[in-house]
Subunit: 480 residues, 2 copies
C-alpha cells in the first residue's frame, strides 16, 4: 500500500521496479511472543495475496526478537513466500508508515502476576482476584496493559494515522474500549474464543459445513445466539445431548483426564448450567469468565463445575498451564535453534484459524470477509450503547470494518451478565483514567469473595506495594 522502501538487513533482494509496490506494511508489536508470532507468520506466508508485504517485527526483548526474525525468514524461505521481514526494538520506527499494527504485548511477564495471585489467596481470593480487577491481565487494574495500549495508540496517531490497530492482547474488552474512546486510532479486537462453538459441533457429531452459528457479546462474554444445522434450529440437539450424553461425557477420560486445563470447558457442567440460567450457550472463555460466583467459591466448587483441574484459572489449572507454556517454549527453542529442521514439517503451511491475517487481507486487498471481531456496537446488539465495543460477526473489506446486526439478547442474560460486565469495564476504565485508588478498591469489594472492607483494602495495598507495582501505585491515588 506504500511505495517499497529499501530495507537494511532484509533477507530479500530488492525486487524489480515492476514489483516495487508494497501490498501492506504490518508491524507486530510484541513479536517476541513466540507462539503467537509463529501463527501470524505462517498465515502471512500462506495468504499469497499478501505476498509483497513488509512485516516489521518489534520487541524490546532483542534475543527473542532475533529468534523470531530468524524463524520468520526461514519459514518464508521454506514456503517461498515473497515477504520482507524487518526487526527492530524501536517502537516508533516499527510504527512509521505501517498499515496494520498487531499488538500481542504482555507487559512485565508472568512472575509478578504469580506473586500477586499468592497474595490474593492469603486474603481468601482463590486463584487470585481474577479478571475482576484484571490481575491475570498483568497487574492490578490491568494498569500496565492499559497504559501500554494507550501509549501505542497515541504513537500511532502520529506515526501511522491511517493504520489499523489489531488488538489481540488482553484485556481486549477494556483495551479496545479505551483506545476507541481516548484516541483517533482505528482499533479492532481479535480473539479466537468464539471458535469454541466448533467443540459443540464436534461433540454432537455434526459436520462444521452443515452448521450456521451466530456468536456475539463482549470479548470473553460471547453466546451462541443462533445454532442451525442444515437450516434448522440445532439447539434441540444440544438439549438431547445434555439429557442423554452429558453425564457420560463428564465421566469420560476426555473430561476426567484433560491434557490441557481448558479441555472440556466448553461442555462442562458450568457451561450447561449457564445455558440453563441464561437460555443461550456460553462460548469459549465465556464459560470461565462469565460464570456466576458460586461456580468459583473454592477449589471444590471449581472441580464440580469445570472438571478435575478446576478449570483454566484454578490453582491446578493455572500451574498446569504455566508448565505447558514452559514446555512448549522449550520445544520451540530446540526446533528453532536446529538449522537443519524443517519448520513447515512442524507447522504445515495452512491457515491457523486466527483472524489477524484474514483482516489484513480483507482490508489491504479489498476482499470482503465476514469475521468475528470486536468493534464499536453502533446498534449491532440492541440495548448496548453505540460506543461500547462488542464482539460480533463483522464485514471487513477495503472500506474498513462494520459490525453486523445481531438484535436482542435474552433479557435475563442482558440484565444478569452483559450489562454488569459492561459496568465492570466502565469501572476499570474510570479507575484507570482518573488514577482512582478508591475506584479500584470499590471494584474489589464487588467481588462476592470479599468479606470486609478492611481486608479488601489491605490486599489492595499489599499488592500495590510490590516493587513491580511502583508505577501503578503512584498512578492510583486516594482522591476525594
Amino acid at each position: 500500500m506504500k511505495p517499497w522502501r529499501g530495507i537494511q538487513g532484509s533477507a530479500e533482494a530488492r525486487p524489480d521496479e515492476e514489483e516495487a509496490l508494497e501490498v501492506a506494511r504490518v508491524a507486530i508489536v510484541g513479536a517476541g511472543s513466540v507462539a503467537f508470532s509463529v501463527s501470524l507468520i505462517r498465515d502471512l506466508c500462506v495468504e499469497k495475496d499478501l505476498w509483497g508485504s513488509t512485516v516489521v517485527l518489534m520487541d524490546i526483548d532483542k534475543e527473542r526478537l532475533g529468534l523470531v526474525h530468524g524463524l520468520a525468514t526461514r519459514y518464508a524461505r521454506e514456503t517461498k513466500a515473497d515477504l520482507r521481514f524487518e526487526a527492530t526494538a524501536d517502537r516508533k520506527e516499527a510504527l512509521e508508515g505501517s498499515d496494520f499494527v498487531v499488538c500481542s504485548v504482555k507487559v512485565g511477564g508472568y512472575e509478578g502476576m504469580e506473586k500477586e495471585r499468592k497474595i490474593a489467596e492469603r486474603y481468601g481470593y482463590q486463584g487470585g482476584i481474577g479478571d475482576r480487577v484484571s490481575d491475570y491481565y498483568g497487574g492490578i487494574g490491568a494498569y500496565y496493559q492499559l497504559k501500554f495500549f494507550l501509549d501505542l495508540a497515541r504513537d500511532m496517531e502520529d506515526a501511522c494515522p491511517d493504520a489499523w490497530l489489531i488488538e489481540t492482547a488482553n484485556p481486549v474488552f477494556e483495551g479496545t474500549n479505551l483506545v476507541a474512546r481516548e484516541t483517533k486510532t482505528k482499533v479492532v479486537g481479535v480473539c479466537h474464543g468464539h471458535l469454541g462453538y466448533k467443540e459443540i459441533v464436534k461433540t454432537l457429531g455434526l459436520e462444521e459445513k452443515d452448521v450456521d452459528a451466530l456468536v456475539a457479546g463482549f470479548n470473553h462474554c460471547v453466546w451462541l445466539l443462533r445454532f442451525l444445522h442444515r437450516g434448522e434450529d440445532a439447539y434441540p440437539l444440544i438439549d438431547r445431548w445434555i439429557r442423554e450424553k452429558a453425564e457420560k461425557y463428564w465421566r469420560s477420560g476426555k473430561f476426567q483426564k484433560p491434557r490441557f486445563p481448558w479441555e472440556g470447558e466448553q461442555l462442562s457442567p458450568s457451561a450447561v448450567d449457564m445455558y440453563r440460567m441464561y437460555g443461550v450457550f456460553p462460548i469459549g472463555d465465556t464459560v470461565r469468565s462469565a460464570s456466576p460466583w458460586w461456580h468459583h467459591t473454592d477449589l471444590r466448587a471449581k472441580k464440580k463445575w469445570f472438571g478435575p483441574m478446576g478449570g483454566f484459572d484454578s490453582k491446578i489449572g493455572w500451574s498446569r498451564y504455566l508448565e505447558l507454556r514452559e514446555k512448549g517454549l522449550k520445544k520451540r527453542m530446540r526446533l528453532f535453534s536446529d538449522p537443519t529442521a524443517s519448520l513447515t514439517k512442524e507447522y504445515p503451511p495452512v491457515m491457523s484459524g486466527e483472524q489477524h491475517v484474514p483482516i489484513i487481507d480483507a482490508i489491504a486487498n479489498d476482499k470482503e470477509r465476514t469475521l468475528e471481531l470486536n468493534v464499536p456496537n453502533m446498534g449491532s446488539i440492541s440495548g448496548i450503547p453505540d460506543g461500547v465495543v462488542v464482539e460480533v460477526p463483522a464485514v471487513a473489506n477495503g472500506k474498513g470494518i462494520r459490525g453486523m446486526p445481531v438484535g436482542e439478547l435474552p433479557k435475563r442474560l442482558m440484565l444478569g451478565v452483559m450489562v454488569p460486565r459492561m459496568l465492570r469495564m466502565e469501572r476499570i476504565l474510570q479507575a484507570f483514567l482518573d488514577g482512582d485508588r478508591k475506584g479500584l478498591l470499590l471494584e474489589i469489594l464487588e467481588d462476592h469473595r470479599s468479606t470486609s472492607f478492611e481486608r479488601a483494602k489491605a490486599m489492595l495495598e499489599e499488592i500495590l506495594a510490590q516493587p513491580w507495582n511502583e508505577e501503578a501505585s503512584k498512578h492510583y491515588k486516594w482522591a476525594r
Copy 2:
C-alpha cells in the same frame, strides 16, 4: 375540573348552581392508611385553592374507611374547608372521572412480611432480604405491590384516562417505571425522603431560607448534588462538621438514644462514609438503601454505621418501628373515636410538607411550582436512559410535570451505585413481567450475603410456599 355530580351519602349539602364546578376530583386509593390520609386531608383543607373539590376515599377495609371518612368530614368542618368527601370500597367507582388518583396501598399488611423476614434470617439474611427483592415492599419480588399498581393504572386507562396517578406506595422506583412503561396512565412518584437535607441544614446551624439544595437520583437513592449557603458552596461546612463535630454528635444523646429508628441516620457514620466514597452526600432513605453491603453484614456492622438501633431496617430498628406504628395507630384511634376532641388541635391546619396536594394544586389550578418528583428522565440526569424514572426537581403546572436538567453525577457514583440500582429495578421488573422464578433467584444470589446457590434457592422456595404467597408462587414459574 368536571361538572359537579350529586353524591350519595355526602356530608355536604348540594352547593348552589353558581358553585357547581368541581375544582378537582381526587381519589385516594388505600385511604385506610390512617397516618398518610390524615396528612393528605389536612393539606387539602389548608389549600384553599382546592376548595370545591371532591375527595373520594377508597379502601377495601370498610372499618378503616369509615373511620377516615369520619375524621375527614370532622377536619373539614373544623377548618370550614369546602370539600366533599365520598367513601367507597369499589375501586372502579372511585376512579370513575377522577382527575388525580393518589395510591398509598400496602397490599397484605405487615404480618406476612414479618414472617418472611424471620425465614430469611434463618438463612443468614440479617433483617430479611431487604429491598434487594423488595420484601419490605410487601412480598418477594414486590409482587403484590407491582401487581396492584399495574391493575390500578390499567383500570385508570378506562375510568379516567386523563387523570394523574400520584404513586406514593413503595416501591416507588420499580412501581413508577412499571406503570410508565406498561400503561398509558400518566404517573408521578412522590416521596419525602429528599427533605433529609434539612436535617443537615439544621445540624450545621444554618437557616433553611439561606440554603439552595439540589437533590437528585432515583427514589431512595438521591444525592445532594448542589448545596449553597447564601449563594456559596456549603460543602466545606459539611467537611468542617465532619472534621470537628461528627465524633461528638455520634456520642451525643440524639444519636445514642434516638426516639425513632431513623433518627440520626442522615448524619450517621454510614452517610459520612458514603459521602467519602462517592463525593456527594446521600439524602434521606438513601443512607439505608444505597449504603454498601459491608455496612449491613450483621447487627454489629449495622450498629457501627447507623447507631445503637442499627438503623431502620435492623432487627432492633424495625421492631421499634412496628411498636411505634402500633402506638401511633392506637393514639389516633382514641382521638378519632372521641367526638368532643379537637382534630385541629392535634393536627394544626398547616401544610404537612408532603407534596401530593401541592402537585394537585399546581396542575388543577395551573399554579407553577417546583417540586421534587419521580418522572421519566428525558435527559434530566446525563447517562440515564430517557425512559427510566428519576427523582429530580420538576416543574408542575397546568400543562403537566417536567423534570429539570440536573446534568452529570460523579462518575464513581454513577458506575458504583446508580447504574447498579437501575439494573436491580430492571431485573425485578423482568422477573415480574415474565413471571420468571429464575430471575428472582438470580437477584437474591446477587446479594453479598448469599453463600450458596442451594441455600438461596431453598429460601426462595420456603418463602414462596407460605400460604399468603400462593398467587406469587403461581406467577413466578421456572422457565427455560
